[in-house]
């Protein structure tokens, strides 16, 4: 049969078959040092100390570990909600404000994002400590009498994590909001919608896929965060990533460590797949 094959497509097809070789170095690296070690770790979770699922039974059955899960999901959820609620208006303004000003704000966002994670976490440890600036300011303003405990608990973790995650909400949302045609909202206004209706009926629905996608991304990233919770949270408020590290580093219990890692891995991959499948803003548009 004769089908009109556009010459372009045809060219691509024939000339680019040999290019598999180019991905081989990356593939070898990923296979040997990513896929194999992760699989080996998962094997150990069902083989050590004896074959069976007892590690998972213990992990999901004991109240100690359930508290860790609770902590993890609570913090990740809180961080996500706060970051989205604060991040959306900022992204909104950045999407429409004159370039001169938005560039300055963008520089600040990017600087905070690029600043060393430990430096940022250290800053919050100092700011939030009992004698720190935040407590001092609150006392001076007369809001509180005695310093609040802001570190070594989930409050500190939530503040520190929100700080880290905000740019990850704001930056993608700017793109989403910029891609909405202002004429749509002008049209809504001409149709008689007031500001609130314009927002709830037009702007919000149009940006919802982007918000959901960004929120899910932040949630997933927060679930697996290690450094900030470990430094700001203290030992009694452990999160899942710390648990994994603790099993391996302090307890040298590879079975339990592997099991906890698998739980984290599965939750991450499932949520990531959900994001890719249903919430990818690039696909929705």
């Amino acid at each position: 049969m004769v089908v009109s094959a556009t010459t372009d497509g045809g060219q691509r097809k024939i000339r680019r078959n040999g290019s598999f070789g180019y991905v081989v170095p990356a593939l070898l690296l990923i296979a040997f040092f990513f896929i194999i070690p992760v699989l080996m770790l998962l094997m150990r979770s069902v083989l050590e100390p004896t074959p069976g699922l007892q590690n998972y039974r213990e992990l999901l059955g004991s109240t100690t570990y359930l508290r860790v899960f609770m902590n993890t999901f609570t913090v990740a959820g809180l961080v996500t909600v706060v970051a989205v609620v604060i991040g959306f208006p900022v992204a909104w303004l950045l999407a429409i404000m004159p370039d001169k000003w938005s560039r300055l704000v963008m520089a600040i966002i990017i600087l905070s994002m690029w600043t060393n994670l430990l430096a940022r976490t250290y800053a919050w440890m100092v700011l939030l400590q009992r004698t720190g600036v935040v407590n001092k300011m609150l006392i001076n303003l007369g809001i509180i009498d005695k310093p609040l405990a802001l570190v070594n608990n989930l409050v500190g973790v939530t503040i520190g994590m929100t700080y880290i995650m905000l740019p990850f909400v704001i930056l993608p949302l700017i793109g989403i909001l910029k891609s909405i045609d202002p004429a749509v909202l002008r049209a809504a206004a001409l149709c008689g919608a007031n500001k609130r209706q314009c927002f709830t009926r037009v702007l919000l629905p149009l940006s919802l896929p982007g918000i959901a996608s960004g929120a899910l991304m932040v949630f997933v990233m927060s679930l697996g965060y290690y450094v900030t919770p470990a430094l700001l949270g203290g030992t009694s408020n452990m999160m899942l990533a710390e648990l994994v590290a603790q099993f391996v580093q302090s307890l040298v219990n590879w079975g339990m460590g592997g099991a906890a890692a698998l739980v984290l891995l599965v939750v991450t991959l499932v949520l990531y797949a959900v994001q890719l499948k249903f919430l990818n803003p690039n696909r929705a548009r």
Partner: protein, 266 residues
Amino acid sequence: MLLDFEKLGILRPFLIGLTALVCLFLILPIVFIAALSFGSSQWLIFPPPSWTFKWYQMLFADPRWLYSALTSLKIAAIVTVLSVVIGFLAALGLNRGSFFGREALRALFLTPMILPVVVLAVALYALFLQLGLAGTTVGFIIAHLLIALPFSIISIGNALEGFDKSIEDAAILCGASPWEARIRVTVPAVSHGIFAAAIFSFLASWDEVVLAIFMASPTLQTLPVKIWATLRQDLTPVIAAASTILIAFTILLMVLAALFRKGRKA
């Protein structure tokens, strides 16, 4: 209306106010750390009673800080080169190839970026203990390469998307062999992507903490590991000094990147 800056009405001061607060929230901790690194208070009291360079002196007087910084620099440099080279090849293959499973492969290459680092760290640590790579520079490089590579593949891949393959074909018809065409034409044309890949790869390694904690040995520590270990002891202002240097370094990189972008436009 809601997307017209001039027509926001009362929403405008509200949005501007909130954005200003967020900017303060984002920038103040950084400014604060820089200020405290020059403050004399051991307990990091703000505002500091007086100003001093003694934390910087202490930082530079301790050879372990310098040594860990050099270790970081060495590892980050090697990771950057490997990440850019392997990433360029992989991006080229993904961009030009039509082989089976290309999209799956792209997703696979990007997974180390979305996976919780601690899972990767623990898994690699287990493997390296068996291979004898734990606590070695090679182990460090492999670990950091895994998380740097996705940045290279994305940056260079994006640049290649915007590069018309016909330009390479034109070079070939001009007499250049396929690899000559790639090196003399494609590489310079996507140099902004390569530059971005290099910066991101460098930062990915230079700032990386979690993998480093697991890969480190008492004698082989990167700067973040050294900061981490010190932080777990106490909140000494020496860390403020070290952090300030890191922040200055970051700003330098940002300025470099901005200059590079500007230079490309001109």
